[in-house]
Symmetry: C2
Subunit: 146 residues, 2 copies
Amino acid sequence: MEAIQDQIRSTCYGCGADNEHGLQVKTFWDGEVATCRWTPEAYHNSGGPSVYGGLLASLIDCHCCNTAMAAVCGAEGQELTPDIKMWYVTATLTVDYLAPTPLGVELELRASVDKIEGRKAWINCSVLAEGTECVRGRGLFVRVKA
Amino acid sequence: MEAIQDQIRSTCYGCGADNEHGLQVKTFWDGEVATCRWTPEAYHNSGGPSVYGGLLASLIDCHCCNTAMAAVCGAEGQELTPDIKMWYVTATLTVDYLAPTPLGVELELRASVDKIEGRKAWINCSVLAEGTECVRGRGLFVRVKA
């Protein structure tokens, strides 16, 4: 399975395949759940032994936005290519930090579609570390022309 | 005036003065409003000509958290030093993206205290580009022992 970001290729700092300075978030969509795996570096700390919250918000933002793209393109039979004529942008992002996210382990993000109405898509996401949900996010993403 | 982060010094990826890989957010508190100025690089883009949303969430997160620290320490007469015995952590962060945030200009973040009750502090923040509010954030931060 190829990551959504490797199909559409952008320069987005969070997830663009064509941004060498970026976080390179990769989203794999199975038609129901989108999965992302990402391992923070030691310097991605919060000032203590846990992962910096702004980084976690960034991972959630990109992973959810690509989940919206994948779900809608899948439903419409649109191919995910660099020439794609639509895009989703973040309107609102909410992140609940349930527990400190440990450093030094691979994180798993699991996102799914809550609701799609017209140009709006609501996506939910959990961040898990060693099977424990540490962070929960939800976002409203709005479709625009590319 | 010295930035809060240069007084308390941490390794936080977002704002720690002692993290050479980090974003180095600096918060200046005048007793009522906290100001931060930060200029994104060209590679901090969203895949288009605007600033990446996850970066904006990160700036808001750190700036608001340091605003809570400054307000509470100011009210209690606690000195902001690296030996400080309390800290705030993010419980919930919500970010509304009102308009695309342009690249190539210095951003101004303005944060203020909405409410403080016991260990909880609610902080509001606006991100302005050339005087226009592009992003609005609010967070709930919880006091913990350092």
